[in-house]
C-alpha cells in the first residue's frame, strides 16, 4: 500500500454547501468537527454521521464520511443499530434540541444507559429552527415563539443534567462560539469508549439569536472539577448562575456491545441441521 498523506480539514468536507442561514451557530460546530476529525485522522469510510431532522440534522450531508439522515427524533436508535452491527465503526449522532429532548426524549435515557460507544452532539439553539421558530424543550420561560405567542410557560430542560441522570459515561457542554474548546471536547468525546453526550450551545440567528446573551454568561468550568464525581457534576449542572462549559463527567465502564460480546464466549457459524435437532 502506498503511503497515505494525512487527512486535512478539507478532506472531511463534502461537496454539498451547508444550507444554513449565514451566521447560524451550526457552522461553528461543523468547523470544529472537521478539525477534530482531522486531528484524530478518522478514516472517512469507517466513520458514520447519523442524524434526525432539523437544521442541525443536515450535518451529515456536509461531511465526506458515511451518513444516515434519519427521521425527526430517531438519530439515537438508528446510530445504535449502526454501532451494534459494526462496533469497529466510529459513530456520531447529531441533531437539535427538539430532535433529542422532545420527540426523541424516549430514546436518550436508553442510549445513555446502554453506554453504546457513540458520540452524540446536540446543537442546542432552544428553538425549532427548521420549522421556523416554535418553542423547544430548552426554550426559556417567557420566551415568545410562534407557538408561545404569550411567552413560554415552562422552565427549560437541562440537557447536561438529563444525560448525567441517564448514566451517560461522558457528559460535556460546549459553545459554538468557543471553537477551540469545542474541538477539544469533540476529540475527547470520540476517544471516550462509551456513550458521550455533548451539548453544544449553537444559536439560531434567524429565530432565537442568543449569541450576545451567551457571550455574557458562559464560563469555562473550574479546572479542579473532578469529572468522576457524579454528585458534584450534578451540582454544577443544576447551578444556574453561570452556564458552565467543559467536561462535567467522564468514567469508564463497559459498553453494551462489549458486554454483549461476552455473553456467549464461543462463537460459531449457524448450522441449520443442528438447530433443528431440538424440534425432532
Amino acid at each position: 500500500m502506498a503511503v497515505v498523506a494525512p487527512l486535512t480539514v478539507k478532506d472531511y468536507k463534502s461537496s454539498v454547501k451547508p444550507t444554513w442561514c449565514p451566521g447560524c451557530g451550526d457552522f461553528g460546530v461543523l468547523a470544529a468537527t472537521y478539525k477534530a476529525l482531522a486531528q484524530m485522522q478518522l478514516s472517512l469510510h469507517e466513520t458514520v454521521f447519523v442524524s434526525g431532522i432539523g437544521c442541525s440534522s443536515r450535518f451529515p450531508y456536509f461531511m465526506s464520511t458515511y451518513g444516515l439522515h434519519g427521521l425527526h427524533g430517531r438519530s439515537l436508535p438508528l446510530a445504535q443499530g449502526v454501532k451494534l452491527a459494526h462496533p469497529e465503526l466510529t459513530v456520531f449522532a447529531v441533531g437539535g434540541d427538539g430532535d433529542m429532548f422532545s420527540i426523541g426524549a424516549g430514546h436518550l435515557p436508553h442510549a445513555c444507559a446502554r453506554n453504546v460507544d457513540i458520540t452524540t452532539i446536540c446543537m442546542d439553539n432552544s428553538i425549532y429552527g427548521l420549522t421556523k421558530g416554535q418553542t423547544s424543550p430548552t426554550s426559556l420561560r417567557g420566551q415568545k415563539t410562534k407557538s408561545t405567542p404569550y411567552g413560554a410557560i415552562l422552565e427549560p430542560m437541562n440537557p447536561v443534567m438529563l444525560a448525567l441522570t441517564y448514566g451517560a459515561s461522558f457528559v460535556a457542554r460546549a459553545y459554538s462560539a468557543k471553537p477551540q474548546q469545542l474541538t477539544q471536547i469533540i476529540v475527547e468525546a470520540v476517544k471516550h469508549k462509551g456513550f458521550a453526550f455533548v451539548e453544544v450551545l449553537s444559536p439560531c440567528v434567524e429565530f432565537n439569536n442568543t449569541f450576545n446573551q451567551l457571550d455574557a454568561v458562559v464560563d469555562i468550568m473550574d479546572e479542579n472539577h473532578d469529572p468522576t464525581d457524579i454528585e458534584r457534576a450534578m451540582h454544577l449542572a443544576l447551578t444556574e448562575a453561570k452556564t458552565n462549559l467543559g467536561i462535567f463527567y467522564k468514567v469508564e465502564r463497559p459498553s453494551y456491545e462489549q458486554e454483549f460480546a461476552t455473553l456467549a464466549p464461543e462463537k460459531s457459524e449457524f448450522n441449520l441441521d443442528t438447530f433443528l435437532n431440538k424440534y425432532e
Binding site: T47, Y66, G67, L71, P77, L78, G106, A261, L276
Partner: protein
C-alpha cells in the same frame, strides 16, 4: 373423520396444565410418526380464565385444526359445557365425575376421577394433567413409552417431580385399563411415517428461516404473539457473533434494525399490530433510503389492543397501504408452519435484492400452532445477498443509479469510496436532496420499478383442485390448509372448484390475474371484517370478488369454506358482498 385420525380438545382452567398436557400428547404422537397440527387459545389473564388446546392427529398430513371434536377432555364443568356443541356424533367425552355431571347427550362418556386420583392416590394435585395423559394413552393406543420419554425431556429438570409425574402418568393408564370399557372406535393406528419429523410452531420455523437466511441482528420489543421470536434470538445471536437489542419501544427497534442493515447486516424485527402501527414512519425511511429490512407482523385481533390472544388477518390493508406517501412495500404471508421457513427466507431474499422493507404477515394461530413437518428442502431456499458496487462503480459512486429493475448497488460503511448519506429526503442519483419535479418523478418510478420486478419473482403459488374449475378461491396466510381441505372435500363432492394461495400478497403476481380470468366466480375467504385481500384484488384487477369474511378471532375450518363453495355453486350467494 378419516381413518385413524382424531381431533381432540382439552379444556380447563388456565393453570391446570391444559397446554402442557396438549403439548406432551402432541410430541409423543409425533415421535411415533403420526402427523399433528395444533391450535391453542390463551386466556386473557396471566393466571386463571378458561383455556383450551386442540390437536388433530392422523396418518396423513394434517391440513387444519379440524372441525368437529372426536374427543373432548374436560378438566372442569366449564370445559365440558363450552365445547359440547362442537362434538362429532359418536365422539368421546372424558371428564372428572366429581366436577362434571353430564346431561344425557348421546356421546360416549368416560368418567375418570382425575382430581381424586391426583389428590388421594398420588398426593399430587398438580399431576392431574399427567393422569389425563396416561388415560389417553390407555384409551387410544398411544404407546406409553413415548409419552414417558417426552415427560422425561420436558419435565425432567427436577428429579423429585419427575418421579411424581411418571407415577401420575402410570396411574391414569392403569385406571382406564382397569375401570374403563372402551366402546368408541378411535384408535391411533400404526405410525404412518417412520422418517424423523420435526414438530415446530410457526414462530420456531420463522426463527430457523431467519437465521438460515443470514439474519444476524434482531431488535424488538415484547408483544404477544411475537415475543418468543425475540426470546429465541436473544439466545441464539450471541452464539453466532450477531447483535441483539430489546429496544425501548418498537420505534427504537425498527430504527436500530434500519441502522444495522444500513451497514450491511441482515436485520429483522418482529411485532404485532400495535407495534407495527408505531413503525410506519421508519418503514417509510427504509423505502426512501432503500434499506433492506424484514418486519414480522404476527397479527392478532384488532383494532387497538383488541383481543391480544386471538387470531385475525386484519393487518393486510395496513401492511400494503401503510405509511404516508407513495411507499412501496413487499408483503409476504406464509400458509403453513413448514411454509413459514421458506417464506422467511424469501422475505430476506426479496428485501436484500430489492432494498426495501419486506413485511412478513403471520398471525396468532400460525405463530403458535405446531405442525409436523419434514426438514426443509434447501434446494427450495437459496439465500440471496444485496447488490454491492463494483470497484469501477465506486470510482464515481452514485448510490441511486438504477439498473433496469430499479435496483442500485449499495455501498456500506467500511467500503472505501462508497461514502454517501442515506436520505429520507427526495434525492438524486448521488443521494443529494433534490425537490425538482423531474427528480421526484424519476425516483418515484425507480422505487416502484423495484416493486414491479418483485412481482415477477419465481415464488410458488400453490394451486389445489380441478384444472377446469368454475369457482375459484384465492386465500392468503394461515388458512391455506383449511382451504386446501375444503377444496378436496368439494372436489370429492363433484364441485368444479380450485384455489390458489399466493404467498406474495403485495405485489400480486401475474398468475393471480390469470387465475381470476380462468374462473367464473372468485371467493376470497379471510379472517377480517372488511375483506381486505378482496379489496386489494379488486383494486388491482378491477372485478367483483365474493368476499367471505369471518371475524370471530378464530381461524376458518375446512367445513366453513366448503359450505361457502356450496352456497356460491348453488347461486345463493351474491357476488357483491358474500
Amino acid at each position: 373423520m378419516s381413518q385413524g385420525e382424531i381431533v381432540m380438545r382439552i379444556a380447563g382452567e388456565s393453570g391446570e396444565g391444559v397446554i402442557s398436557a396438549g403439548d406432551i400428547f402432541t410430541l409423543a404422537a409425533a415421535h411415533l410418526g403420526h402427523n399433528v397440527l395444533t391450535f391453542r387459545t390463551y386466556p386473557a389473564e396471566i393466571k386463571g380464565g378458561h383455556n383450551w388446546y386442540q390437536v388433530r392427529v392422523g396418518p396423513k398430513q394434517v391440513l387444519s385444526m379440524g372441525e368437529k371434536l372426536d374427543v373432548l377432555v374436560a378438566f372442569n364443568a366449564e370445559g365440558y359445557q363450552k365445547h359440547l356443541n362442537e362434538m362429532r356424533e359418536g365422539g368421546v367425552i372424558i371428564y372428572d365425575p366429581d366436577l362434571v355431571t353430564p346431561e344425557p347427550n348421546g356421546f360416549t362418556s368416560y368418567p375418570i376421577p382425575l382430581t381424586k386420583i391426583a389428590r388421594t392416590e398420588l398426593d399430587y394435585v398438580r399431576g392431574k394433567n399427567l393422569v389425563v395423559l396416561g388415560a389417553l394413552s390407555g384409551l387410544f393406543g398411544l404407546e406409553p413409552g413415548s409419552l414417558e420419554s417426552v415427560v422425561r425431556t420436558r419435565l425432567g429438570r427436577r428429579a423429585e417431580l419427575l418421579e411424581k409425574n411418571l407415577n401420575a402418568l402410570q396411574a391414569g393408564y392403569d385406571y382406564v385399563r382397569e375401570n374403563v370399557e372402551k366402546v368408541d372406535p378411535y384408535e391411533l393406528g400404526e405410525s404412518a411415517d417412520s422418517g424423523k419429523r420435526l414438530v415446530m410452531s410457526g414462530n420456531d420455523a420463522l426463527v430457523a428461516g431467519a437465521l438460515y437466511a443470514g439474519c444476524r441482528m434482531y431488535a424488538g420489543y415484547p408483544i404477544t404473539p411475537a415475543s418468543d421470536i425475540m426470546e429465541a434470538l436473544a439466545k441464539e445471536l450471541p452464539k453466532l457473533g450477531g447483535a441483539f437489542l430489546q429496544a425501548e419501544d418498537e420505534i427504537g427497534a425498527i430504527a436500530a434494525v434500519i441502522g444495522s442493515s444500513y451497514t450491511g447486516v441482515k436485520s429483522m424485527t418482529a411485532t404485532s399490530g400495535p407495534g407495527f402501527s408505531l413503525m410506519q414512519e421508519l418503514l417509510g425511511l427504509a423505502s426512501m433510503a432503500e434499506i433492506p429490512c424484514v418486519i414480522v407482523d404476527a397479527q392478532r385481533a384488532g383494532p387497538s389492543t383488541g383481543m391480544p390472544t386471538k387470531m385475525e388477518q386484519s393487518d393486510l390493508a395496513f401492511a400494503i397501504n401503510g405509511g404516508h406517501g407513495d411507499t412501496p412495500r413487499i408483503v409476504i404471508a406464509p400458509g403453513t408452519v413448514a411454509d413459514t421457513f421458506y417464506q422467511t427466507v424469501n422475505a430476506f431474499n426479496l428485501s436484500e435484492k430489492y432494498q426495501m422493507p419486506v413485511i412478513l404477515l403471520t398471525d396468532q394461530s400460525l405463530a403458535h400452532r405446531t405442525e409436523t413437518m419434514s426438514r426443509p428442502d434447501l434446494s427450495r431456499a437459496p439465500v440471496v445477498d444485496r447488490l454491492k458496487p463494483t470497484p469501477e462503480e465506486l470510482e464515481t459512486y452514485a448510490r441511486f443509479a438504477a439498473g433496469e429493475n430499479g435496483v442500485s448497488p449499495m455501498a456500506v460503511p467500511g467500503m472505501e469510496d462508497g461514502m454517501y448519506v442515506a436520505p429520507g429526503l427526495e434525492h438524486d442519483e448521488y443521494a443529494h436532496p433534490k425537490y425538482d419535479p423531474e427528480t421526484h418523478v424519476k425516483m418515484t418510478e425507480k422505487r416502484f420499478r423495484k416493486l414491479a420486478a418483485a412481482a415477477e419473482e419465481p415464488i410458488d403459488i400453490p394451486r389445489y383442485g380441478a384444472e377446469d374449475a368454475e369457482i375459484g378461491i384465492i386465500g392468503w396466510g394461515s388458512s391455506e390448509g383449511a382451504i386446501q381441505e375444503a377444496v378436496e372435500l368439494a372436489t370429492a363432492e363433484g364441485y368444479k372448484v380450485a384455489s390458489i394461495h399466493p404467498r406474495l400478497v403485495n405485489p400480486l403476481q401475474p398468475q393471480v390475474g390469470e387465475f381470476i380470468e380462468s374462473v367464473r366466480t372468485v371467493i376470497v375467504p379471510e379472517v377480517n371484517y372488511r375483506g381486505q385481500f378482496a379489496n386489494h384484488l379488486a383494486a388491482t384487477f378491477g372485478f367483483k370478488p365474493v368476499r367471505f369474511t369471518k371475524y370471530q378471532g378464530l381461524p376458518f375450518s375446512a367445513g366453513e369454506i366448503y359450505r361457502k363453495v356450496q352456497e356460491v355453486a348453488n347461486g345463493s350467494s351474491s357476488t357483491a358482498n358474500g
